[in-house]
Symmetry: C2
Subunit: 330 residues, 2 copies
C-alpha cells in the first residue's frame, strides 16, 4: 500500500472527503469526528506523509534552523551544536549544521541557502568580524550570533565573558606563584581571541605595571599554531613559566611542545579556555576556563525561537560567565 508517492488527494479520495478536509485534520483544525476518523484511517492505510516542500511553499516558512559554525571537528562547536539541537528539538525544529572552515565565502553561501530554503532562522558563529548578515536581515530572517558577536547592535548575541575569563586565568597563574605568564591567543581579527588576550594583558599590567608583549603570541586557534607558538616562547632567552592559552586546540599543541621540552603542568603553569575532552594525564594540573558551550547553544536557540515566534523587541545580548576551575576529574 505504502506507495512511493501518496498525496493529500489520494487520502482525500480514499476517505471520501476533500483535500481541504484532510489538510484540516493534519493540522488540527475543526473537523467532524466522523470525517476525522475516516481521514486518519485512510492516511494510515496509505502511509501518508505530507509533502513538506509543498507545505513550505505555501506557508513560506519551515521548521528548520541553520547553525553555521567555523569548525565541525572542534569539540567546543560540537558541544554548542548539541545545545542548539536540544533546545530546537524541544521546540519542534530541526537543525541543519553548516561547516564553514572559517571561510567567509562559504559562510555567505550558507546564509543564502538559509534564505532560499525558507529556513526559520540562523544561528551564526561568525567566521570573523566582517561577516555580513544584511541579506538575512533584508529577508526578515531572525539571526542570533553566538560565541563571537557581530559588530552591530541590532541583532541578538550570546557570548561568554572572555575578558573576565582571560583576566581570571592569568591572575590564578600569578596567584599560584608563576611570574612570567605568557599568552597564546587566536587571530587578532577574531573577537574572542582579542578579548581573552586583553584579560591576560590586564592581569599582567596589574602585576608588573606593564604588559609584556614579548610573551604574547597570536596564533590560529589550531593545534599546530599552538605548538609552534609554545615552541617559540620556550626558545626565548627568558622563557615563560606559565601560559594562558586561548582555546583547546592550541592547548593540545602547546602541551606537545612543552612535553618535547621536558616540561608539563603543573610544573609549567597552564590555563586553557575550553574543555580538553580527550586529555588524560596532561589535563591534571591544567586550569580550565570552562566555556559553557552547550549552554551557549541552548541560550542562542532560545533567543532564536523567541524571535521566530514573533518577538521583535530590541536586540538582547546574553553574556555567560566563563568560570575558571581547577579540574580534577571528569
Amino acid at each position: 500500500m505504502a506507495d512511493a508517492k501518496v498525496t493529500i488527494y489520494q487520502v482525500a479520495a480514499r476517505a471520501g472527503v476533500s483535500a481541504a478536509t484532510v489538510s484540516r485534520v493534519m493540522n488540527g483544525a475543526r473537523v467532524s469526528p466522523e470525517s476525522e476518523r475516516r481521514v486518519r484511517a485512510a492516511a494510515a492505510e496509505l502511509a501518508f506523509t505530507p509533502n513538506r516542500t509543498a507545505r513550505r511553499l505555501r506557508r513560506q516558512y519551515s521548521e528548520v534552523i541553520a547553525l553555521i559554525i567555523p569548525d565541525i571537528e572542534n569539540p567546543f562547536f560540537t558541544a554548542l551544536a548539541r545545545g542548539v539541537e536540544n533546545r530546537a528539538r524541544a521546540g519542534g525544529f530541526s537543525v541543519v549544521l553548516c561547516n564553514t572552515d572559517d571561510d567567509p565565502a562559504r559562510e555567505s553561501t550558507y546564509m543564502d541557502i538559509a534564505i532560499a530554503e525558507h529556513m526559520a532562522g540562523v544561528i551564526l558563529a561568525p567566521a570573523d568580524a566582517t561577516s555580513d548578515v544584511s541579506r538575512l536581515i533584508a529577508h526578515r530572517r531572525p539571526v542570533v550570533a553566538v560565541d563571537r558577536s557581530l559588530n552591530r547592535a541590532d541583532i541578538d548575541a550570546v557570548t561568554v565573558d572572555n575578558r573576565a575569563g582571560g583576566l581570571s586565568a592569568a591572575e590564578s597563574l600569578f596567584a599560584a606563584g608563576f611570574s612570567r605568564v605568557a599568552c597564546i591567543t587566536g587571530p587578532s581579527s577574531v573577537e574572542t581571541a582579542q578579548l581573552r588576550m586583553e584579560g591576560w594583558q590586564q592581569a599582567s599590567r596589574d602585576r608588573h605595571g606593564a604588559g609584556d608583549d614579548e610573551l604574547l603570541r597570536y596564533a590560529d586557534y589550531r593545534v599546530d599554531g599552538g605548538r609552534a607558538a609554545m615552541a617559540e616562547l620556550l626558545a626565548l632567552r627568558e622563557p615563560p613559566d606559565a601560559a594562558v592559552v586561548a582555546n583547546n586546540l592550541m592547548a593540545a599543541g602547546a602541551l606537545d611542545a612543552l612535553h618535547d621540552a621536558g616540561l608539563a603542568p603543573p610544573g609549567f603553569g597552564l590555563a586553557v579556555f575550553g574543555d580538553l575532552p580527550f586529555a588524560f594525564f596532561g589535563r591534571r594540573g591544567i586550569r580550565v576556563v570552562d566555556l559553557p558551550a552547550r549552554k551557549l547553544g541552548e541560550a542562542a536557540a532560545g533567543l532564536l525561537l523567541d524571535r521566530i515566534a514573533g518577538d521583535d523587541g530590541p536586540a538582547r545580548t546574553v553574556v555567560l560567565r566563563a568560570d575558571r576551575r581547577s579540574r580534577e576529574k571528569q
Copy 2:
C-alpha cells in the same frame, strides 16, 4: 532594491520577458544573447535568489543529503562528517547532519524527514542492527550505510575491517610481550563492537588455545563505561597486563582508570580503535588502530552520489582497512 521578496515574475517584468525565459537563463537553457543580458541585469539589480522550495516542489528533487549519525560529539563521527561534506560539496550537494544519540526513534524520525523534505539521499551510521530503512527504499531514496552495516544485501555499505583490526591489535600486544590481554568492547548489539571483539578473541585463541572470557567486557562505547570496565578488570584476582579497547571514548575512560591505579602505557599495553585527538602524553605508547573516518565519509558520499546520479547496479560493499600503527607524533 533588494526587497525582502523577489520572484521570478518581478525579474521577468523588469527584463521585459516572460518568467519562462528567466527560468531558462537561470538554468542554462538556450536564450538569445540579448534576452540573457537583460535578464541577468534585472536579476542582479533586484538581487534575485530563486526560491528553492518552489524549485524543489516542481523538480521533486533537492541537492541535499542527510547524514544520520549516533553521536555528534564523537570525533570519529565528526571526521566522518567532514569526509561526507567534502565529497558532497564537490558534487554540488549540501549536507544536513542529524544526531540520533543512538536512539532508534530519533533515527526513524530523521529518515521520515529526509523523505518528506525530498532529500536526494541518506548516509546512515545505524544506531543498531535493527535500523529500518524500508521506508526510504519504498520512496526510492538512495541509502548508504557507513561504519556499521545493515543486515540487508540490497544496500550499499562502507565499513572498516573491524575483525582484522581487532586481531592485529591483540596480536601486536601479545607480540610485545604482554600475556593477559583484555578486551573492552561496545554493546553486543552493535556490529563493530562484536567484530572487534571477535578479532581479539581469535588472537587470544591462537595464543592460549582458548579465549578468556574473564578478560572480556561489554561496555557502552562511552567514557564512563570504559572507565568502569577497566576498573573492573584491574580488580580481578589476576588482572590483565594489556587491553584492546574498541573505541576512543572508552579508551579515555580506561586511561583514567589506569591512572587511578598508578598504571599507564606503555607499561600497561593499550591498543585502541580510533584516534584520540586530544590525548597528549597518554597517547604516547598507545597502539592506535587507525579508523579512516574521513575516508569512510568520502567513500560513502561517493557511493551515494553515484546512486543519486542514477546508478542502479547491485549493492556494493566497500571495506576499508583499519591499519594498526604505533603512533608517535601527530
